[in-house]
């Protein structure tokens, strides 16, 4: 040990310099001791985080080639079917970065896939938090931050999807303009201010660009920091089990075990997205053609996270209402504005609604098993099935073609199932939860029954020891890293 206090010479040199300026050793040790519970469902949020990192890495590359301009030019690039066509600079630059820039197509496809994985991971992570009650006090604020992140992820998915200015994304923008127009009182003005005039205009592409590459990513990054900061401050939740109590956290320490595992997960997420970008074509805009307001393509679906809105718009009855001297385009407003508005309002409000009506305002660090909260689980499952049905409804035309049946039949099937299925699922879930909680030993690993024949010829049966992987049977008492130190 030398004067710096380190026995290792290298640490004495580099770390001590930092320590004299930041107190690195004290903070570092505290951080390295942070405990992460070992449960697969805790990786969902990490997958979202790592998809975001892939999004940033690939996205920055795309900005080096993409031109955010609606200026119409004649295409002279290498893709022969488009030669001589009038296209926007945005479209031409996207085709160029896909087909002429080495590695560009991989970057673009990885970026698009990463966005889909990002939103999917967030939604599944949200489900985990919801069904295990991890949103309860003291984590309501982090729940809200998480919902904002989901909204931002969807918004940035949509803005990014619109940037190439191809036939399909341009149609999506046209629908978005109509959705804004449907808002009572302010809709028309809002639409004109956002698009810089009547659709299509020349301003929306550059505006979407700055929103997509700067404004929303900055907010996402900031909120991610807040999300993780709160997570560290509150410490993790955990499932109950031997030695796990409300007052402690049991699992692996950040350094080195968790760092190794999570780095592995990052590499796997990256690898998965790279494989998707390599082998599964996504959004081949050179085949779709450039956007022209008078052109349209058939059997087009938006990215998956917009599917529920598209489906809702398809199955909504044509209830435009005229009254008080004004037009109320409810056939658009209800599915495309009121539905998402209500969805996210309920999501924001859920922790408070549950605390209020469930009369439970206590602090919780141990997670619920979904079955132990039948009502919450039933409502969650019913709501999920509602959105799944809406998602299915975004493919009415494809389904009608596939099953060789009429659009009318498909439409009415969805109108009926969207009401019946959530009720049925909620009811069934409630029943199953009740049944499970009332069945002893359900959900536990079975213990073998061993038959032994005695030398006298008699038979004895006894239950074997619990399987060593059974968490409840783990004999090892948790060993503290930090001895019970009472820090003020």
């Amino acid at each position: 040990m030398n004067s710096t206090g380190y026995t290792n010479g290298k640490l004495a040199g580099s770390v001590d310099w930092m320590d004299q300026r930041l107190g690195l050793a004290r903070i570092g040790r505290k951080i390295m001791d942070k405990i992460f519970p070992d449960h697969w469902s805790f990786m969902l949020g990490e997958i979202a985080l790592y998809s975001f990192i892939v999004l940033v890495i690939t996205g920055v590359f795309l900005t080096l080639y993409y031109v955010p301009s609606s200026q119409q030019i004649i295409y002279h690039g290498s893709y022969l079917p488009l030669r001589g066509r009038r296209v926007s600079e945005a479209y031409a630059s996207t085709v160029n970065l896909s087909l002429n820039v080495r590695g560009g197509l991989l970057m673009r496809q990885m970026h698009h896939w990463a966005a889909d994985v990002f939103t999917a991971a967030i939604v599944i992570h949200l489900c985990r938090i919801f069904f295990t009650g991890a949103f309860r006090r003291p984590r309501e604020l982090n729940w809200i931050v998480g919902i904002i992140l989901l909204i931002l992820a969807i918004s940035n998915g949509f803005t990014g999807y619109s940037l190439p200015d191809d036939l399909i994304s341009g149609t999506g923008l046209r629908i978005m303009f109509s959705i804004i127009l449907s808002i009572p009182v302010i809709g028309t003005y809002l639409g004109f201010f956002i698009f810089g005039g009547n659709f299509p205009g020349k301003l929306i592409i550059p505006r979407l660009y700055i929103i997509h590459v700067f404004i929303i990513p900055i907010i996402i990054a900031g909120l991610l920091g807040m999300h993780l900061g709160l997570l560290i401050y509150h410490k993790h939740t955990q499932f109950s089990g031997k030695g796990r109590r409300e007052q402690n956290v049991v699992g692996s320490p950040l350094w080195p075990t968790f760092v190794a595992k999570t780095t592995g997960l990052f590499l796997m997420t990256f690898a998965f997205i790279a494989a998707l970008g390599a082998f599964i074509q996504i959004n081949p805009i050179w085949q779709f053609g450039p956007y022209q307001p008078y052109k349209i393509s058939y059997a087009v679906q938006p990215d998956w996270y917009m599917g529920w809105l598209d489906g809702a718009m398809r199955i909504m009855p044509s209830w435009e209402w005229t009254g008080f001297g004004h037009t109320w385009p409810l056939e658009v407003f209800i599915p495309a504005v009121a539905l998402p508005g209500l969805t996210f309002t309920l999501l924001f409000a859920w922790p408070f609604l549950e605390a209020h009506f469930g009369k439970d305002k206590a602090e919780h660090h141990l997670l619920d098993r979904p079955r132990d909260k039948p009502l919450r689980t039933a409502i969650g499952a019913g709501a999920l099935s509602f959105y799944v049905v809406l998602f299915g409804a975004s493919a009415t035309d494809v389904l009608a073609n596939f099953f060789q049946t009429s659009l009318n039949l498909v439409l009415w099937s969805f109108r009926i199932t969207v009401v019946i299925v959530p009720i049925a699922i909620a009811f069934l879930t409630y029943k199953i939860c009740k049944e499970l909680t009332e069945t002893p030993y359900s959900g536990q690993r079975k213990r073998a029954v061993v038959m032994v024949r005695s030398p006298q010829g008699g038979y004895n049966a006894y239950r074997a020891d619990p399987h060593p992987d059974t968490k409840a049977g783990q004999v090892a008492e948790p060993v503290p890293i930090e001895p019970e130190s009472t820090q003020a």
């Binding site: 206090g5 040790r29 590695g103 197509l105 991989l106 496809q109 046209r174 629908i175 303009f177 109509s178 959705i179 127009l181 449907s182 808002i183 009572p184 809709g187 639409g191 004109f192 956002i194 810089g196 009547n198 301003l203 509150h234 402690n248 956290v249 692996s252 080195p256 075990t257 968790f258 590499l267 690898a271 494989a275 390599a278 082998f279 307001p293 008078y294 349209i296 087009v300 718009m313 398809r314 199955i315 909504m316 435009e320 004004h326 037009t327 109320w328 056939e331 658009v332 009318n408 439409l411 020891d465 060593p468 783990q474 948790p478 060993v479 503290p480 890293i481 930090e482 019970e484 130190s485």
Partner: protein, 329 residues
């Protein structure tokens, strides 16, 4: 104080370190294995760890080769599947290596950490309140008028500075959504600006057309259908709108504004591919299916003496989806 903390922590490190090996063998010892001794178990465990180490080594070597493959693929042209395939395989193999190390060669615990109290103590709350209200607020308490003035000027700043952020973003809608470029006598032209003559379309043919001088205009796009060879009366009062069986309808769907691009001649229906609204052409493009609330507005057409199709006027109602001011025109 500091030295005491350090001492405790060092102690804890060695505890954690020791536990790694101990815990792994402990797990294994839990298996009830009649007839095999403790030394066999230790030997088995050693072999297992050795095998895992080899797995990790092989994966990382594989990853290295794959990343070299990425470089080579890039060098020879960057073919997408090979480039991404090598990248994915390399990352996955490296990931396997890291995970094997993390899962089998690092302390697994379970370790425990105590939670801290989140809520403050009564005393802390009082100290907070004191600082906030007594120390900070008292300056304003005695100068209410100044406080009001400051609040007012800050609010005014907020409001006026927001003006450009709202009003400068775009022009006011005005009458933009109520009219198109169709004027009485506008010649009907294709997207390339070529005027359409009365014998250009066969019966059953369709064409997207625009008013002359505004080819490609989003608002004025019109679908021209030759539904018959003789005039068709789609509605009362529209007897003269369809010379030689030519019908013109706004191509903007009244639901969400997509171009109503699909025409089925047999059933004389127009279909919007976005949300599957269907319009009955012979009945004045009234919606017969789907979410569209209103018929597509019909363009009054006529033929001049040279045989060119011309509009008799603009559409008689606003085209496209509904909006708040639509009925107040």
């Amino acid at each position: 104080m500091d030295t005491k903390e350090n001492g405790e922590n060092i102690n804890a490190v060695s505890k954690a370190g020791n536990l790694s090996a101990g815990n792994n063998s402990h797990n294994l010892a839990n298996h009830t294995c009649e007839g095999c001794g403790r030394s066999d178990l230790a030997e088995q465990e050693r072999r297992r760890l050795r095998a895992l180490e080899v797995v990790a080594q092989l994966s990382v070597i594989g990853a290295l080769l794959c990343f070299i493959g990425v470089g080579v693929t890039y060098w020879v042209g960057g073919q997408n599947q090979f480039l991404g395939g090598f990248l994915a395989a390399g990352l996955a193999l490296l990931g396997i290596g890291v995970i094997v190390i993390g899962k089998y060669f690092m302390p697994q615990g379970p370790f425990v950490e105590q939670r801290h109290e989140i809520s403050s103590t009564v005393q802390q709350k009082q100290l907070f309140e004191e600082a906030l209200v007594e120390r900070g607020g008292s300056a304003f308490k005695r100068r209410k008028f100044l406080g009001v003035l400051m609040g007012a000027s800050a609010t005014m700043f907020g409001i006026t500075f927001a003006f450009p952020w709202i009003r400068s973003l775009g022009p006011l809608p005005g009458k933009t959504l109520f009219q198109t470029w169709w004027r009485p006598g506008s010649r009907v032209v294709t997207v390339h600006g070529r005027p359409v003559k009365v014998d250009d379309l066969e019966v059953g043919g369709i064409l997207t057309v625009f008013p002359e001088g505004h080819a490609g205009s989003s608002m004025s796009q019109t679908i021209l259908i030759r539904a018959a060879s003789l005039p068709i009366t789609t509605r009362k009062g529209r007897e003269t709108w369809s010379p030689h069986g030519y019908l013109g309808f706004s191509k903007i769907c009244t639901h969400a504004g997509c171009p109503v691009g699909l025409y089925e001649e047999q059933s004389q229906q127009l279909l919007c591919p976005c949300h599957q609204s269907i319009f009955d052409v012979l009945d004045g493009a009234v919606p017969v299916f789907g979410p569209a609330p209103r018929p597509l507005p019909q363009l009054p057409l006529g033929v001049d003496e040279e045989g060119y199709l011309r509009a008799r006027s603009d559409f008689l109602e606003p085209v496209g989806p509904g909006f708040w001011e639509r009925t107040t025109a």
